[in-house]
């Protein structure tokens, strides 16, 4: 297996005054190019911390993140993030929000006209070109998340990091957006790492599901391959035996072996 993104023995300890909390313990994970990997776990298990570490927004205590065999320890557009609450800048229009990243990443390699075309191309990919001059407050939650995806895609990241991208959306919008992300993955072949707490979402979208144990000192409990052919169809999968088995496995992991104690 060729490692594209590699997490090597990552530990993360938060220190506040005299108190220390070990959030992540000995995380090892290898992701291939073009793979879609989901990380699932109960809230508070440190999965967002893990994503922030890969994004470079949080530092590791020990261990290393390797992207194409190069260590990464600061944020950069090669690991673009789609944030949970879209994080569009409210004073910029949809177009300007995407353009902000494009202008930085392609400052030297693309001309003004090319950058403009590239922004519109990415807005078209997520079907948001019609709203280019709207401000984030004027579009719906699902549309904001689409723009967030366009902003990340437009930076041509090596790895696209999705931090619970559909968490704040209603069920119908979420399904619609999941289909869009699947289609984009199919079309562009991005390497995607997604944080989620939705079992169906994880099984539907991923090639592999990384299940995390409860924190503190969360580890990778189990990694499940999802051997479903692509393109996947939501409706057909609802009765697919493999799909149901995978779903069952994740549910068992989350609700039997690593039940969320605090919620009980």
């Amino acid at each position: 297996m060729t490692a594209y993104l590699k997490l090597d023995h990552i530990d993360k300890v938060f220190t506040r005054g005299a108190a220390t909390t070990e959030v992540l313990k000995d995380i090892n994970l290898t992701i291939e190019k073009g793979e879609y990997v989901s990380i699932i776990g109960h809230s508070g298990c440190g999965k967002s911390t893990l994503l922030n570490i890969i994004a470079g927004l949080t530092g590791v205590t020990t261990g290393v993140v390797l992207l194409e065999n190069r260590e990464v320890n600061s944020p950069g557009p090669d690991r673009a993030v789609v944030f949970q609450n879209h994080s569009l800048l409210p004073w910029l229009t949809v177009y300007e929000n995407v353009r902000l990243g494009v202008d930085k990443v392609f400052a030297k390699t693309k001309s003004r006209a090319e950058r403009d075309a590239w922004v519109m191309h990415n807005l078209n990919l997520v079907q948001m070109a019609h709203a280019r001059d709207k401000r984030p407050s004027e579009i719906s939650g699902g549309m904001k998340q689409r723009v967030g995806i366009a902003r990340a895609l437009a930076m041509e990241p090596k790895v696209l990091l999705l931090d619970e991208p559909f968490g704040a959306l209603d069920a119908l919008t979420r399904a619609h957006l999941q289909d869009s992300v699947m289609a984009l993955h199919q079309k562009l072949g991005n390497t995607i790492l997604m944080i989620t707490h939705d079992v169906d979402e994880a099984v539907l979208l991923s090639d592999r599901i990384v299940m995390m144990t409860n924190g503190p000192s969360a580890r990778i409990g189990e990694v499940l391959e999802v051997p479903l052919a692509r393109p996947r169809k939501r409706l057909e999968l609802a009765t697919n035996a493999t799909y149901l088995k995978c779903r069952q496995r994740v549910l068992e992991f989350l609700y039997e072996r690593h039940r969320f104690v605090e919620a009980a």
Partner: protein
């Protein structure tokens, strides 16, 4: 894996196709006169109540101050005494014997100068204090003490330092209006959501771009709150400062009127001071609305 599925039979009812004639509707537009009438009504609702209150207060004032021997003149006397000042604000007889326009514009120039300086310095210091924990720890206690010093207490010191009325007045405006600008800017910077900082980090904005593209727009609502308080304070300070430094300016005009017992002129001047202060406040508020368009929501 074997499984037994429960069969659910669903009967779907097919809607009976009916052909209905399509009627094109022309949207009804209210006649223009009606729109004008509504606009007039809306204006009236806003304008009439304050007019009634002002008329009533003027009437009471007139009745109270009318009798002989009253210390303050009634509005009718104020008007007859100051007719010349009201109708000819542009005369200039040299020295400080000028129309009210010149006095007000002299004061406004001082305010414009001092306030611009304090806006620039205040935003810069506010950004520093908001961004850096060490700057905040070092400077904040100082600011908290200095900002309680009344404007006029600075005047003797600045006269000693500058040895001239003009820069001293400007300094007093500067030092009075800078504190709310610093403090509000710092709060705005500190309240920039982590999300925006993350976005900037992923996009790899350099510090200058971060300042211009994230920090200033994100903190703009706070900054404008500070600027608005600041303009009010500087207008408060200028009248007091000018009373002491003398020369052309609305503050000294009032003081001069008092020394010559022209009570009516004082009342007229106060009226103008109030109106100008109100306009300044509205100007900054309007500018704020324009700049923070979109930022305030969300």
């Amino acid at each position: 894996m074997s499984m037994t599925a429960t069969k659910i039979e669903v009967k779907t009812a097919k809607p009976v196709a009916t052909v209905a004639p399509v009627v094109a509707l022309t949207p009804k537009r209210p006649p223009r006169t009606e729109a004008y009438a509504r606009m007039a009504r809306e204006t009236a609702v806003r304008v009439i109540p304050p007019l009634i209150v002002i008329a009533l207060l003027t009437l009471i004032w007139e009745l109270v101050c009318r009798r002989a021997g009253s210390a303050l003149p009634p509005p009718s006397k104020v008007f007859s005494d100051t007719k010349e000042l009201i109708f000819d604000p542009f005369f200039d007889n040299g020295g400080i014997d000028k129309g009210l326009f010149w006095h007000l514009s002299a004061s406004l120039q001082r305010v414009a100068f001092g306030y611009s300086l304090s806006a620039i310095a205040g935003i810069a210091l506010g950004v520093l204090v908001g961004q850096s924990v060490w700057a905040m720890r070092g400077l904040d206690p100082l600011f908290q003490v200095l900002r309680t010093i009344p404007p006029l207490a600075w005047l003797p010191l600045s006269l000693a330092a500058f040895r001239d009325g003009q820069p001293s007045a400007i300094f007093v405006i500067f030092i009075t209006s800078i504190w709310p600008i610093i403090i509000n800017t710092a709060v705005g910077i500190r309240n920039i959501p982590q999300d925006y900082r993350n976005v900037a980090a992923v996009v790899q904005l350099n510090p200058l771009e971060f300042f211009a593209k994230i920090m200033i727009p994100a903190a703009a609502p706070y900054i404008f709150t500070g600027l608005r308080i600041g303009i009010g304070l500087s207008w408060l300070a200028i009248v007091a400062a000018e009373m002491l430094i003398g020369g052309v300016g609305i503050g000294f005009f009032i003081w001069d009127a008092w020394n010559s017992s022209h009570i009516s002129e004082i009342i007229l001047a106060l009226f103008y001071v109030g109106i100008v202060g109100f306009v300044l406040d509205r100007l900054i508020a309007g500018a704020g609305k324009l700049v923070t368009r979109g930022t305030a929501q969300n």
